[in-house]
């Protein structure tokens, strides 16, 4: 009996998790429809564009078929209307993903949101041919779209903000998703250490709308997440403005810190649709890569 209920509970958990993966996939696909490669000439395998021949182009790059169709030696076009076939730029980069698993994320849908975002990002990156790894989980960077399931499976293993057994190689990209309510110094040290190795990165802050707006009224007793410290606020309305300023200041400090390492800082409320957040992130990553 208890075995059965155990199994049932496990099945339910797995189903719940799969739900997360499915949601991430949906989010990713919604975004990928709009992303078309790197939009840059390179040595990839995907066709990018035809362009008229120019001096210096290798002869083997001429697309003779296209030249026969569009150009022709009798035409008045410069260089005899010869066309060069250009392929898209593709260079596999390694991206490392991390999400905050601390207790402070268990507020509203923050944790779920962060994980959705991480997995969706993973799907987009893998789809784009990037090597993608899960920071601090012991999982080697993966390629191929199917790898997202391995990342998904390794997700519970990832906890602290450390490099773990597999250090981040130079010229990789690190994406950290969390609320960053920890002391600023810890994050700064981590980022600086990586930045020194020419690792670029993005800090993605996920916060609950309540954490920004403080929508409570009257007398409220606030406790910290471990329940150690508490503050009795007699009139929450009275401190709302002060709090909003402090919150904005914290975000500004994070942004400043990231910029100093050459990193980026992005911040999303959980009220924002994850699709929107992902699209924005992809834009940022695109310019970065």
């Amino acid at each position: 009996m208890s075995k059965d209920t155990d199994r049932l509970a496990r099945a339910g958990k797995i189903a719940g998790n799969l739900d997360l993966l499915l949601r991430a996939e949906r989010v990713a696909h919604a975004v990928m429809k709009g992303v078309h490669g790197r939009r840059r000439t390179g040595t990839g395998e995907t066709f990018w564009q035809f362009r008229p021949w120019a001096p210096g182009d290798a002869r083997r790059d001429i697309d003779w078929r296209q030249t026969a169709k569009r150009g022709g030696f009798d035409s008045a076009v410069e260089h005899g209307g010869v066309f060069i076939r250009e392929m898209e730029w593709e260079a596999a980069q390694t991206a490392w993903l991390w999400r905050d698993a601390s207790a402070s994320m268990d507020f509203g849908i923050k944790k779920e949101y962060a994980e959705t975002l991480l997995l969706a990002l993973g799907i987009v990156l893998l789809n784009g041919g990037e090597q993608t790894g899960l920071l601090g989980s012991g999982l080697a960077p993966q390629t191929g779209v199917a790898a997202v399931e391995r990342i998904f499976a390794a997700l519970p293993a990832q906890k602290e903000m450390t490099e773990g057994a597999r250090p981040v190689a130079a010229f990789s990209h690190v994406i950290l998703i969390g609320d960053f309510y920890a002391p600023l110094e810890d994050v700064r040290d981590f980022c600086a250490r990586l930045a020194a190795r020419h690792v670029t990165g993005t800090l993605v802050q996920v916060f609950d709308p309540a954490e920004k707006d403080l929508p409570y009224k009257g007398r409220v007793r606030f406790e910290d997440i471990e329940g150690i410290d508490a503050a009795d606020i007699a009139q929450v309305e009275a401190i709302r403005d002060v709090y909003a300023r402090k919150f904005a200041a914290h975000q500004a400090a994070l942004d400043e810190m990231a910029r100093r390492s050459g990193w980026r800082f992005e911040s999303f409320s959980t009220a924002v649709k994850p699709e929107t957040a992902l699209a924005q992130l992809c834009g940022v990553l695109g310019t970065h890569a």
Partner: protein, 888 residues
């Protein structure tokens, strides 16, 4: 109003002094604030708040709590409003209680006992002994007895065994007993608990003059008497005239306690009597063991039936049915007239009558039977049939070799007052005591001019049931194996005698029909032993061994008494009922209460206890306080959550819900049990439909045709019950509109167990309710009806019963694609569809068991499919032909 209030524990009121302290304490302790675990706490930590002082509890919350505390203090001080006047502490001596416990006291017996307990409690407080006299003769010895003097506490115990008796009180004996006590030692206080009736004004006056107080109350003293008059006439009699018209239900029960029929009688305002005619269907009538007025637990409101009460179907053998019964000269006409009011009569050829399985056959001489037919009839009698044969010219001519004669006959007929005789027509002799006809009224005017004569054999006298003045038999009877054969030695009609005009003719024929069941001996039983006796509440129970109950003489006058209580007497196969209601004289209300006696009611006198009321309010205040605290702490969401999980079906679906999905509907009849069954049945069916088909039933709705829009429902189930009031014009128009628009109504008369009877309660209700509705011409559902193949392939459509006939529109309107709007049957489908919470069936299905229940579900599914898809499946039948044609 407070002037009549006293406290049992006034010192507790001192606790009120603590209330200010409580106020101060509560004020110092504010309610706990709402707590939030906040991840961004580190940002909040350092914010200085201007108001650091802890908030106080709001004043109204304080008031609420202090008020609750005050109410608790008041409640435990036990305030009593208008306490009883302390009668028993002012006078000395015993308290005498005369308690009417005759048949009439069964009306609101609980109120009487409550009042008695109440008074005994007061007497107990005053510490005086008490004497109790139940005024009805005791069931143990038939005497009015006195109990006591005893302690009030002991009397309270004794009163637990007190019960109303199903016979009248004896005020004269009670008065004598009171007189005896007076002589010995005058009691300090005497009180009569009256049942409100007076059998004899003189007797009751003797009893009343000794009383200090009389407890009587027209609300409690409201006896009901059900009397059975002639034939189907019944009368209900009450003690007081009603101020407003009142509807009384009289129900008919089987021996097993099931209601098989009921009728509603409106008791008019200002009347004490109401007589009504109640024609019960003969098939049902045979099953009835008792009739009783619903809601009245009194022996006088119960009418028990006896074995003779059962009707037996009678067949009259006739060659030419149509002519015989209309001809004044034919015997069949007179037989029919004699028996028709009571019994079910069929006229036909012998073969037809055998098919109908009659209990009694009457054979007038005019019907000539062939020898094989006579042999067949003889066989029928041997098997237990009862044959009444009349004489006539046919018998007189062919009496020699006839096998169907109780006594040997001389050939030919004896004629008196003929052209060639000088004999005068003969009168009847008094009926002999040994005759089964003994006790019937004499008929001095009857004369017989012709008869067939019995051979004077030795056994003739024993077989003679009725004689002429000269000793020749007019009616003879004899047992033939298990059955009985009776011969009337003259004609059934007027040609040989004027016997057929007499009352005796009717009475004798009826007596003979009564005899047709189970009577083993012609000799009338002299006395009948008690079989089952009624108690004061009208319940039957077997008699005690040591009871003083006597055997009772049949056909005698019946007086209910401890020796002869009402009930059933005789043997289990053949018993007579002696009913209290029929034996009672008309009741008179108790009058001339002496001025010296105070009149009390059966209401409580012990003061009005305010404790529970105060406690209730205190608890309510505490509840309000909890709610308010929840609100202050922001836990209202929790409450909302709690409210949200309470079942949602309590709310009726809105029209928006109704159009969003498929709902099954039933007509609310106003009979809670029937409505509940309909709902459960449709829910069970809906579950099956959702499980088995693509149709998803969202819910079940009870509709009132008077108010609700029926257009939302593809089909409506309408169980027929006599409880449903007539439809008014609007409701009828609504239903008519539903039918005209192509809706589907399944009328369920719920009478499948009577299989084909023509006047069941369900059919009567159907006729009554559809009076203003234009129901199209009907025909039984045919073999190729769409209903047989809309989902499942079905041959019949059983429900709880399987009576087999389901009626549909004969020619469904082409406007509705030839789909019927009306289905009428009686198999109580809802009962078959009902499931309990564990998905188990709740009602047994007869006779087919679970297989039949499955068929009932299939019928329900087919029905819904017809309602939803119309004749779609009928088109499908042509598919093979269409495919064939397409192939070519």
């Amino acid at each position: 109003m407070l002037e009549g209030m006293t406290f049992l524990f006034p010192w507790l009121l001192g606790a009120v002094a603590v209330l200010p302290v409580l106020w101060w304490l509560l004020r110092a302790m504010p309610p706990r604030p709402k707590t939030v675990k906040f991840p961004a706490f580190f940002l909040l930590k350092d914010i200085e708040t201007k108001r650091k002082t802890a908030a106080r509890a709001p004043w109204w919350l304080l008031l609420l709590r202090v008020l609750a505390a005050l109410l608790f203090i008041l409640a435990f001080a036990e305030p009593v409003l208008h306490p009883a006047p302390p009668v028993f502490s002012s006078t000395e001596g015993d308290v005498l209680i005369a308690f009417d416990n005759g048949w009439a006291s069964a009306s609101h017996w609980q109120a009487r006992i409550a009042k008695l307990d109440d008074m005994l409690e007061q007497i107990r407080r005053s510490g005086r002994p008490v004497i109790v006299i139940p005024t009805a003769p005791s069931a143990q010895d038939g005497h009015v007895r006195m109990y006591g003097p005893m302690e009030a506490a002991q009397a309270m115990k004794w009163a637990e065994r007190l019960a109303p008796q199903p016979w009248p009180t004896d005020p004269a004996k009670a008065a004598a007993l009171v007189g005896k006590i007076e002589k010995k030692k005058r009691p300090g206080y005497a009180v009569l608990f009256s049942d409100g009736i007076t059998p004899d004004a003189l007797d009751s006056r003797d009893l009343l003059k000794n009383m200090n107080a009389v407890v009587t109350d027209s609300r409690v003293n409201d006896p009901v008497i059900l009397r059975h008059g002639e034939d189907a006439r019944y009368c209900i009699e009450r003690l007081h005239a009603m101020k407003h018209p009142e509807t009384v239900t009289v129900a008919a029960y089987t021996a097993g306690g099931d209601i098989v029929d009921e009728t509603r009688v409106v008791f008019p305002a200002g009347d004490k009597n109401k007589c009504f005619t109640w024609n019960i269907l003969p098939e049902v009538r045979n099953k009835i063991a008792r009739l009783s007025v619903s809601g009245v637990n009194m022996a006088s409101a119960v009418f028990l039936t006896n074995t003779q009460w059962k009707k037996r179907p009678v067949g009259i053998i006739s060659a030419t049915a149509a002519r015989e019964t209309r001809d004044f000269l034919s015997g069949a006409y007179y037989i029919r007239r004699a028996l028709e009011p009571e019994d079910q009569i069929a006229v036909g050829s012998l073969a037809d009558l055998f098919k109908k399985r009659e209990a009694v056959l009457v054979w007038p001489d005019s019907a000539a039977l062939t020898m094989p037919e006579k042999e067949e009839l003889r066989h029928w009698v041997d098997q237990g049939g009862f044959l009444i044969r009349f004489s006539g010219p046919n018998l007189a001519a062919h009496s020699d070799d006839d096998p169907l004669l109780p006594v040997p006959l001389r050939s030919g007929a004896r004629a008196m007052q003929g052209a060639m005789t000088w004999e005068k027509p003969l009168h009847l002799a008094p009926i002999l005591a040994q005759s089964p006809l003994y006790g019937l009224p004499a008929s001095p005017d009857t004369t017989v001019t012709r008869q067939v004569l019995a051979d004077p054999t030795p056994g003739l006298f024993a077989k003679t049931w009725l004689q002429l003045a000269d000793g020749t038999p007019l009616i003879t009877g004899s047992r033939m194996d298990k059955g009985t054969l009776v011969l009337v030695h003259t004609t059934a009609g007027p040609s040989w005698s004027n016997f057929c005009y007499s009352g005796l003719y009717v009475a004798a024929l009826r007596r003979m029909v009564d005899l047709s069941n189970g009577i083993t001996d012609y000799r009338a039983q002299t006395t009948l032993p008690p079989l089952a006796l009624m108690d004061g509440f009208g319940h039957l129970a077997p008699p005690d061994d040591n009871a003083i109950v006597r055997h009772i003489a049949p056909h005698g006058n019946f007086f209910p008494s401890p020796q002869t209580p009402p009930g059933l007497y005789g043997s289990a196969l053949d018993f007579s009922a002696f009913n209290l209601g029929d034996a009672l004289l008309p009741v008179q209300p108790l009058g001339n209460i002496p001025a010296s006696a105070t009149v009390e009611t059966y209401g409580k006198t012990g003061g009005h206890d305010l404790k529970t009321v105060l406690l209730k309010w205190a608890v309510l205040l505490l509840l309000a306080d909890t709610l308010a605290t929840f609100r202050l702490r922001g836990l209202m969401a929790l409450m909302a959550l709690f409210l949200a999980v309470t079942p949602a079906y309590a709310a009726a679906p809105t029209p928006a819900d109704l159009v969003s999905g498929l709902f099954l509907a039933y007509i609310k009849t106003g009979d809670a049990a029937v409505d509940h069954l309909s709902r459960d049945g449709l829910e069970g069916l809906g579950e099956e439909i959702t499980l088995r088909t693509a149709a998803q039933v969202k819910g079940v709705v009870g509709v009132d045709p008077d108010k609700d829009n029926l257009a939302y429902y593809p089909m409506i189930y309408w169980p027929m019950t006599s409880a449903e009031p007539d439809l008014d014009r609007r409701a009828a128009a609504n239903i008519q509109n539903y039918i005209n628009q192509g809706g589907l109504i399944l009328f369920d008369t719920r009478d499948g167990q009577f299989n084909g009877a023509t006047s069941t309660p369900g059919l009567r209700a159907l006729r009554r309710l559809t009076r203003d509705i234009d129901i199209p011409a009907l025909a039984p559902v045919g073999k190729n009806d769409i209903l047989t193949k809309s989902f499942y392939l079905l041959h019949d459509f059983p429900g709880q019963y399987d009576s087999g006939t389901l009626w549909t529109e004969k020619d469904p309107s082409p406007l509705h694609d030839g789909v019927t709007s009306v289905l009428i049957g009686g198999d109580d489908w809802a009962a078959a569809w009902t499931e309990d919470n564990g998905d188990r069936a709740r009602y047994p299905v007869q006779p087919g068991g679970e297989a039949q229940r499955e068929m009932a579900y299939r019928f329900g599914i087919n029905l819904l499919m017809v309602a939803l898809t119309g004749n779609y499946k009928a088109d499908q039948i042509h598919t093979p032909y269409i495919l064939k044609r397409l192939g070519q």
